[in-house]
Structures are given as structure tokens and as C-alpha cells.
Amino acid sequence: MSNEKINAKNITEDEYFYGHKACAGCGGSVAVRLALKVLGKRTFSVLPAGCMSAVGFIYPQMAFSTNAMIAPFPATGAMISGVAAGAKALGIKDFHAVGIAGDGGTADIGFQALSGAIDRGDNIIYICYDNEAYMNTGIQKSGLTPYGTKTTTSPAGENLPGSIRQKKNMFEIVAAHDIDYAATCSIGYPNDFLNKLKKAKKIKGTSYIHVYASCPTGWGSPTNTSIDLAKKAVDCGLWYLAEYENGEFKLNKNPKKFISVKDYLLNQGRFKHLKEEDINVIIKNRDKKWEKIRKNWL
């Protein structure tokens, strides 16, 4: 493949994830669709129990036209590694092996298998589409649910502002394995996502792509704002675009001025209950994080 950047004009017109049953405006399906367009037809994909598997393979409606298989919930990393090892042992050439899991399937129940895969340095790409809760089971808190999120297991009330913990820092945890390549993305910045995937394709070893992907159903947001919200998350500093490569962190986008966090939060049902003081906690945590990022990743 050439060094030319991938964009809407030159990306394949083929669709590999089509006719699925995801909710209207689903951010996760934007991530899966675009990822498979970059990876192409010669791809083995493994998706654990979760939204994308639930909406993509309901017999006889088969929405994946690349090879695809559902994994046990904790098993994405191990199963896609097995696929890669089996294909290699059979002498199959010129293929990609990709695991695609949600935030719970990655940061919680699938964490161990992912760690094992990175530790082995298996030639796989692992994509985490992060919609910040267990959406397929009905919006329960995961390890990537941020502070102040109302979910069905972290209700907001007089005593609690919803979730009281910050997101687990998956990107840096993955990087701490000294992984070959890791990157954070957002479906709000699709071109950045496409080109990081293109980079991951060329890596001989393990790549991890963490893509922020909105969920109108779980976030209580209009179906048409999914891309915009995922962009605003980056622009207000609650998410960031970065890479880890050759042992170094690199910040890809360093906003001169953040847009309003309050505006981002209060346009979503999951944050509508937040009081000024809760929003201040979120802003304080954001600033602390960015101080470190700017100090170390620039």
C-alpha cells in the first residue's frame, strides 16, 4: 500500500458490515464499518458477545462479508490470537487478524486475554470501541464509564452523582506492555481513525486501537449527533488523540483552547443530572490529565 493517506475519496467502496441490526446512529458500527474498510476483504475478525456481535450475526441475517466469528465474552484476545496462529501454521499469507470488542469486553472481562495477546506479541490488531458502558445488556457501568455517568447500575441520586470512578486508563495500560503500536481515536475524527488503522495494518506485532464511539441509546443523545458528540469529546479535552510507538507517546492533537465541557455533558441524558460541583470535578480531572499529557507526550 502506498504512503498516501486514506480518506473518503480513496477508501474502498466495498462495504463489509452492512444490513446489521445496530440502533440508528450507532457509533460502534461506524467504527466497525470503517475499520473493515481499511483492513479489507482478507480479514479474519473476531468479536465477543456484545453489541456488534449481537447485531451482526443473527442467523440467517449475516451482516459481515469478511470472515467473522463471535468469541466468548472474555476471549477476544485469545481467540483472535488463535486464528492468527492457525492461519500462520497453515501457511496462509497476506491476511489481517482483528479483534473488535467494546469497553467492557476490553477493559473488564476481556482484559486478561488482551494482556496475554500483547505479551506474546501476536500479529493481531485489537480494536476497542469505547461507548463507556455495557450497552448491549442495557447500559450498566463498566471500567471505562467516566465519573458522573448515570447508568442502570450507577444511578444518580441524592447521594451519588452516578459513577464515582474515572475511566480506567486503557491506552497507557496497553502501552505499559511495551506494545508495538497503540493509538486512541474517535469516530468524530474519522480520517485520523482510518490512518491509524492503516498504520496498524503494517505493524508486525500487536496493535491496539482505542476508538471513542458514541451510543445514542446509552448516552441519551439524539441519533443524529453521534459523530458530533465523539468530536466534541476530543475538543473539550475529555478524550484525546494519541499514539504509542517505538516506546514513545505522541500527542496527535493539542487543542489550544478546549470547548465547553458543560456543553458536551449536558447534551446527553447520562449527564443531565450533574451539578456544577460535579462538572467542576470533571474539569479538574481533565486539567490534571492534560498537564501530564502536555508535559510528557509532546
Binding site: F57, I58, P72, S81, G82, G86, A113
Partner: protein, 395 residues
């Protein structure tokens, strides 16, 4: 047939059998008393005597999941586990059989915690009978090697496509050294050709695997799985014969009858205790006592028809269980009784629970079992009896 002799442990016999079966990928996590199997296999990969990928997975759950990934592209997968590890991969056991992936796994039968015990019993695999795996239980190292090879032949049969678990009693078999015949590679290659299947991902013709079904179709897929297990009975018998014809060792297929012909009582055993029971049967037969032994080789598929046939002319059947469903009875016994319930005049069956957590089952224990089976005091006889208790219990 050209066989080389070697002196190895049961674990090593499994590793040698696995090497002869040429798996493409081995994914395994260490657990006592299975470890030697995966140590040897990693050595075979290192020294080049086995051309395979060796995956160091971080758990048994991942060992099974990786094996499924391997099988999903049409490659041959091998793994091994024991006890807690088998339970840790329980989700994957059901998954692999549902997916119709003919993975072969050795299980070193070991007690389940707690109390912790690294020693043998069959609580682990007996708790997984509903996972859809074929389960064979072997008696010695030679059978362990032979069954590791036969396992692939049976599991990969187009009418079966069902994963296969080779069970060896922990320590008693896994760590005991025996002299065995090692088949040569060319002959094994003739017996077991490369795995070919349609049940795989294919870059030229992309597939969707392990999909979801609605209530409209789920039962049909499960029915297929049920029929595949039933189909395996015939395949097991055929493979046993073909293997015997080629390598000179026949095991009897689903069960082995030992001196059952004119027996008035039968003892049913599973695994290594069969060897001890053989000696007792021989001794008692030499005294003219008509006792017989049924070595139950397979728990899945369950050889119900054979059990019924053998039970027609006997007075009583004893069943040794190295496991118990607490508050009820041993799992093998439940199965035997289920078979007997389909007869018109079934003999009475008595369950003997023993050998748990590494407790020995001695020749004396087995002789006592036979004696009690031969004595008619039906009114007083308890259906479930514990053998080899180390202290007194209230009857």
C-alpha cells in the same frame, strides 16, 4: 507395523501421541499434574521435532479460546488441562462443541478445591459431561498415547465434528512410568491424514461462525450436536478396529468386557482403577468365583446399549465412582442406573464411592466390593457406599 519401545510417564505418552498427530498449534496453560505434557510439547517445538506454533496463553480460558481460533481456520489444535483449569475453561468447552470444533484435549483427572488437592479423582471431568465433548478414560500410558491419536480421527470425522477429551487419572497415570510401543510417524500419517473441513473461515469465501440464533433455530442446532455425539458411537468402534488392524492394539471401542461371559456380578470401573480390578477378577476367577469387569471407556457418548446387553444375565452390578454429586450418588452410577431403567428385569446396582482426592483404591477394597455384591442381603444394603474411609462414620 513397526513399533519402537520407550519408557515414559502417562503425561509423556500423551505428548508423544500429540506429536504424532501433528497439531498445527498448541495453546496451553500449566497445571499440576498436566504440566509434563506441555513441557514436552514445548520442547518438541523448540527442537523442531514438531512443526507447530506453541502459544503461551495466560489462562485455561484463553487456552481453549485460542484453540477455537485455531480450529476456526481449519487448523488442528491441541491443549491439555486439569481440575480447576478444566472448570476455568468450562465456558469454552460448551462453546467449542457448539461450534463443532474438533479440538483434542488431555485432562489430568484431579480433585476439585476445596479442600485443595493436587491428587487424582474424576470430579473435574464428570462435572463437564453436559459440555458436549466426547470423553474417554484410559487405563495406562499406552492407551493414553493411542487415544490421543484416535481422538483426532474420531473428532474430525465429518459425521462427528465434536471435540474430544482424553482423561488420565492424575499422578496414578500421569506420573507413572511404563514401557510402551511408539508407532512410527509414517503409519500415523496414513491413519490420520490432514484435517479438512468446511467448518472454517475462508478468505476466498468468507464465513460467519459461532453466530446467534433466535428461538426459531436454536433447538435444531442443538439437535444436530446431539446426533453428532450419537453418530460418534459407530465411528469410535470403527476407529478402534482400524487402529487395532494397523497398530496391533484394540481397546474394545466404547467399553471393554473383561471376563463378563458367565459372570453373576459385574463391576464397572472408569480409568486406572480398572488395572487393579483386573488383578482381583483374575484372582477370584482362579478360585472359581464368577465375577466380571466392565471397563467403561467412554462417558460421552454413553454406551447405554452395551451396558444393557451385559446386564441381562447378571444378579448385581457394582459401580465405582471417583466423584460424587453431593447428597446423591456418583455420576457414573447415575448413568448406569439410567441404562438399567430401560431394561425389563434389571439387576440391582450398588454404588461405591472412593479414590477421591488421591485416596488409594486397593485390591482388598475391590475384593470387598465383589464380596458384598455376591452376598444377598438386599434389605440392609445401602445403595451408595463409601469405600476406604480412614475413620469411623455413623451408619
Amino acid at each position: 507395523m513397526s513399533n519402537n519401545k520407550c519408557f515414559v510417564s502417562g503425561d509423556e505418552a500423551v505428548a508423544l501421541g500429540a506429536r504424532l498427530a501433528r497439531p498445527n498449534v498448541i495453546s496451553a496453560y500449566p497445571i499440576t499434574p498436566q504440566t509434563i505434557v506441555v513441557e514436552r510439547l514445548s520442547e518438541f517445538v523448540e527442537d523442531g521435532s514438531l512443526e507447530a506454533e506453541f502459544m503461551h496463553v495466560e489462562s485455561e480460558h484463553s487456552a481453549m479460546s485460542a484453540a477455537m481460533g485455531v480450529s476456526s481456520v481449519g487448523a488442528r489444535a491441541f491443549t491439555a488441562t486439569s481440575s480447576q483449569g478444566l472448570l476455568h475453561m468450562s465456558e469454552g468447552l460448551h462453546y467449542a462443541s457448539g461450534a463443532r470444533f474438533p479440538i483434542v484435549m488431555m485432562n489430568a483427572n484431579r480433585a476439585l478445591a476445596v479442600p485443595w488437592s493436587i491428587y487424582g479423582d474424576q470430579s473435574d471431568s464428570m462435572s463437564q459431561l453436559n459440555s458436549g465433548w466426547i470423553q474417554v478414560y484410559v487405563e495406562d500410558a499406552q492407551e493414553a498415547l493411542d487415544m490421543t491419536i484416535q481422538a483426532y480421527k474420531i473428532a474430525e470425522d465429518g459425521n462427528v465434528l465434536t471435540p474430544f477429551m482424553v482423561n488420565l487419572d492424575g499422578f496414578i497415570l500421569t506420573h507413572t512410568y511404563e514401557l510402551l510401543n511408539l508407532p512410527n510417524q509414517e503409519e500415523v500419517d496414513e491413519f490420520l491424514p490432514k484435517y479438512e473441513t468446511e467448518n472454517k473461515m475462508d478468505l476466498e469465501n468468507p464465513k460467519s461462525l459461532c453466530f446467534s440464533s433466535t428461538p426459531l433455530d436454536n433447538l435444531e442446532f442443538k439437535y444436530q450436536q446431539h446426533m453428532a455425539m450419537i453418530n460418534s458411537k459407530e465411528v469410535i468402534e470403527k476407529v478402534d478396529k482400524d487402529y487395532g488392524d494397523k497398530f496391533g492394539r484394540y481397546y474394545g471401542g466404547l467399553i471393554e468386557e473383561y471376563k463378563c461371559d458367565d459372570a453373576s456380578v459385574l463391576l464397572v470401573t472408569v480409568g486406572s482403577v480398572t488395572g487393579t480390578a483386573r488383578v482381583v477378577v483374575d484372582n477370584m476367577r482362579s478360585e472359581g468365583i464368577k465375577v466380571g469387569l466392565v471397563k467403561l471407556r467412554y462417558m460421552r457418548p454413553f454406551p447405554e446399549e452395551k451396558i444393557i446387553e451385559l446386564s441381562k444375565n447378571v444378579d448385581k452390578i457394582g459401580v465405582i465412582d471417583k466423584n460424587i454429586s453431593h447428597g446423591y450418588e456418583g455420576t457414573v452410577f447415575t448413568h448406569i442406573n439410567s441404562a438399567l431403567s430401560k431394561m425389563n428385569n434389571s439387576p440391582k446396582a450398588i454404588n461405591f464411592i472412593g479414590g477421591m482426592g488421591g485416596r488409594d483404591i486397593s485390591k482388598e477394597d475391590i475384593k470387598e466390593i465383589f464380596k458384598s455384591l455376591l452376598t444377598t442381603n438386599e434389605d440392609k444394603e445401602k445403595t451408595v457406599q463409601f469405600i476406604g474411609m480412614g475413620c469411623e462414620i455413623d451408619e
